[in-house]
């Protein structure tokens, strides 16, 4: 019976000082199965996978692979047992070719020299077998993120892994690339290789997983077969209460414009990245900007935030503005500074909380306490380092400092990237509160569901152009997808706005 299973983890318990990360967890994976592992940030998914991959030793519990009890003391042990992991941040050398990256660390034959030719041939064969479309001689740095991910997967297949652990694999992928990944996982399944798929995204899990295990607070709250999977039920299991995945539509009468852009253009390194953008955001409305990542969204935010000057055209903000940048760690949070510092950094830069050149520590503290309660930021105290906080809490910090002064314009770029369902719901609520309070929002997102549930009007961005600005009642997923892919031309932006 037990030998039917490729992997069986029983009663895994792991405590860290102050927190029990895993409590009596059972996880069973059959050969050929795509097994979803679902849970909020901090639910214990990462610890469990680190135990499986030999990076962390469990306090209690046992692991059996193909029915044999094993001890996994290091990633090397894991690989020997056929367990491989694709990390969220790829472990590839960008300057090396696909073949070289895969050959790294291999010990084949007795010579100290790696046989790159042999490696290349096998890569070609494997690549063809799974439809990876990878050339052994491609330099990794020149590949798209999707292809780099396939290189990682290929690396594990080459080493004979038959259980792949994928940590939030779709976070860096376009929708098309995600679908391609899913077909690869199915193909692997038919050959008896299994996958553990860690994610926040319920719809993806339903699309690809044969079975899924839901974790909450370090415990297993349920294990569902394909037929039992249901977005609403899974979301409830994950956060322990009902979650509004689709926020109720809130239609208000828009007021005066708070942001007006006219013929906004930007050329960077001789290449046009923003082209003749004309649009307006009004009070009490959300203008969603949909588009595949890398079509000028980041540049648009940088221009509107004042980091970059437009090369032609211009924009006016009527009143105060706040920006939530897309790249949380890169552009929004100072990881080595404290929670308190991160809550007030915009204010201190703008001259608030100061007196005669000094930071007013007492006021900063009182303000911090207030935001902690008001925005439900979970932290032991204000002096905790931002790097020690979960992504969801970090995003709440950014939200809190952006919204507490009730700006007239909110520019929110990818405000829910990497967040779990509970935190996403929270961000949506805050954006709606902002709208209700009379503010205008420019929502820039690659998540179409997000755009559709929050926006009053939708602008579609392709290659730095707004190809259409449509009323929300005139769009659906399919139409949006076609516009984003540049297949259909929308009506002239000027006419729609």
């Amino acid at each position: 019976m037990a030998s039917d299973l490729l992997l069986e983890m029983r009663g895994i318990t792991k405590a860290f000082p102050g927190v029990v990360a895993n409590r009596d967890i059972d996880l069973a994976v059959k050969p050929g199965e795509v097994h979803g592992l679902l849970g909020e940030n901090g639910a214990g998914k990462t610890t469990l996978m680190k135990i499986l991959y030999g990076l962390v030793q469990p306090d209690q519990g046992s692991i059996a692979v193909r029915g044999n009890p094993v001890v996994i003391a290091s990633p090397r042990d894991a690989l020997r047992l056929g367990i491989g992991m694709v990390h969220q941040h790829f472990m590839l050398v960008p300057d090396m070719t696909v073949a070289e990256n895969i050959a790294l660390g291999l010990r084949e034959g007795r010579t100290p020299l790696t046989r790159l030719g042999t490696v290349s041939k096998r890569i070609e064969a494997l690549s063809k077998q799974y439809g990876f479309n990878l050339e052994p001689d491609d330099v990794v740095g020149s590949l798209s993120l999707g292809r780099r991910q396939r290189t990682e997967i290929l690396k594990l297949l080459y080493r004979g892994a038959d259980l792949l652990i994928l940590d939030e694999p779709t976070a860096v992928l376009t929708p098309t690339e995600s679908n391609e990944l899913f077909s690869v996982l199915r193909l692997l399944g038919w050959q008896g290789r299994s996958t553990i798929f860690i994610t926040h995204k319920l719809d993806e899990l339903i699309a690809v997983a044969d079975r899924c295990t839901v974790l909450r607070d370090g415990k297993v709250v349920g294990s569902l077969a394909k037929a039992e999977m249901d977005q609403r039920a899974m979301a409830r299991m994950m956060v322990g209460r009902d979650v509004v995945l689709r926020v109720p539509r809130l239609t208000l009468l828009p007021g005066d414009p708070v942001l007006e852009a006219t013929h906004l253009s930007l050329t960077a390194a001789g290449r046009p990245v923003l082209y003749n953008l004309t649009f307006a955001v009004r009070e009490r409305e959300v203008l969603g900007v949909a588009g595949v990542d890398g079509n000028g969204q980041q540049e648009l935010v940088e221009v509107l935030a004042g980091l970059v000057k437009p090369t032609a055209g211009g924009f006016t903000v009527h009143g105060s503005a706040a920006v939530i940048p897309a790249d949380r760690h890169g552009d929004a949070i100072a990881l080595s500074m404290t929670l308190s510092d991160n809550l007030v950094m915009t204010d201190i830069a703008k001259g608030r909380f100061r007196r005669r050149g000094l930071v007013r520590g007492d006021e900063v503290h009182r303000h911090g306490r207030r935001l902690l309660t008001e925005y439900d930021i979970r932290a032991p105290h204000l002096k905790v380092r931002a790097s020690a906080m979960s992504g969801g809490n970090q995003q709440k910090v950014v939200l809190a400092r952006s919204l507490y002064r009730q700006p007239r314009l909110l520019i929110a770029a990818q405000p829910t990237r990497g967040l779990d369902v509970g935190a996403i719901e929270y961000v949506y609520q805050k954006i709606l509160d902002h709208k209700r309070a009379g503010g205008g929002t420019l929502l820039i997102s690659t998540e179409l569901d997000e755009i559709l549930s929050l926006s009053d009007r939708v602008a579609v961005m392709v290659s730095g152009r707004l190809v259409a600005i449509l009323d929300i009642h005139d769009v659906d997923l399919e139409k949006l997808g076609l516009l984003m892919a540049g297949v259909v031309q929308g009506p002239e932006p000027a006419a729609a706005s």
């Binding site: 552009d331 929004a332 100072a334």
Partner: protein, 320 residues
């Protein structure tokens, strides 16, 4: 110890001599403390620049320019201004000179993207050249016999703290500036913006900080601290004359002090005492135990390796 033994000397004797040379008696302690201020100031300068993630290796040059300014003020300007203002004025001019000299590298970085490591290093050579030319030309003493300037007006010098020693009152600036630097970095808005810029430059820009200005200011402040060190080498413990190479490697040893202090201003003082003692005691060690004072450099290197190694170990432990 092992290294001293390998060098063929009595290690106990050598260590005793090193300690006696740095802490044995008032004179030795005074000499050690004389080295404390320049080491401390340069270390603080490194920390200030590094807070905005810029690397200033031009302290030697900034010390030299600060010293030139202090000497110029002390020799040519002091006779024309009232006594109580002579010293403060000379010190102030040196601070400005060190800051401006560092600002050259800072502005080259801001306007032209010139790497500040290269520019500050190159500016050291230029400063060395300028001082060599000054003491053999425009600022040479009247007899034109020796490669140094005439002495600074005695009333513009720091008064002695202890009789019969090189120690002058300026050593008190060391703890004061340590406290001041810590206060500016941790309690003022300017210090906040500096730490923010160093922690995440892009987030600082999104918050509306002119990170370029902050960085230029941090490099200039870093140079100003070195300029102050330069003024002390002329107006404090030294001969009161400008001479070539008077910076004596403090500009690099101070960086080591900052690294040992792990960029924490409050830890600079003990680290500076350690390195001041090594510098101070090496002479006696060489004389008494016959151990080359070069071995002190090896010791310094070992200290750095050990500090770096322990830092690495601590991080590993924190990760587990």
């Amino acid at each position: 110890m092992l290294i001293i033994a390998l060098a063929g000397a009595d290690s106990v004797e050598a260590i005793n001599a090193l300690i006696a040379g740095s802490f044995g008696g008032t004179i030795a302690i005074a000499r050690t403390l004389t080295f404390l201020l320049p080491l401390t100031l340069v270390a603080l300068g490194w920390i200030v620049a590094f807070s905005s993630r810029r690397i200033n290796v031009g302290f030697e040059g900034q010390i030299l320019m600060g010293g030139v300014a202090a000497a110029w003020a002390g020799i040519y300007l002091a006779p024309h201004i009232p006594f109580p203002l002579q010293l403060p004025f000379a010190v102030l001019i040196a601070v400005v000179a060190g800051g401006l000299y560092a600002a050259i590298a800072a502005l080259l970085w801001a306007w032209r993207g010139v790497n500040e490591i290269i520019s500050t290093l190159m500016l050291n050579f230029i400063a060395t050249g300028i001082v060599a030319w000054l003491v053999a030309g425009p600022m040479q003493e009247p007899t034109h016999q020796f490669p140094n300037s005439p002495p600074v007006v005695p009333s513009a010098l720091w008064p002695h703290l202890l009789p019969n020693s090189t120690l002058t009152w300026d050593v008190l600036l060391a703890p004061i500036l340590v406290a001041f630097t810590w206060f500016v970095m941790n309690r003022t808005a300017a210090g906040f913006l500096l730490r923010l810029t160093g922690s995440n430059e892009r987030a600082a820009r999104f918050a509306g900080v002119s990170t370029r200005l902050v960085t230029v200011m941090s490099l200039a402040a870093s140079g100003a601290l070195a300029g102050l060190a330069g003024s002390s080498l002329i107006l404090g413990a030294g001969t009161g004359k400008l001479a070539a190479q008077f910076s004596a490697g403090f500009g690099f040893d101070g960086i080591v002090v900052a690294l040992v202090a792990r960029n924490n201003p409050l830890a600079v003082l003990p680290a500076a005492v350690l390195f001041a003692a090594l510098r101070s005691g090496s002479g006696l060690m060489e004389a008494r135990a016959g151990v080359s004072s070069q071995l002190v450099f090896i010791t310094q290197g070992l200290v750095i390796l050990l500090v770096a190694g322990s830092a690495f170990l601590f991080e590993q432990m924190a990760l587990d």
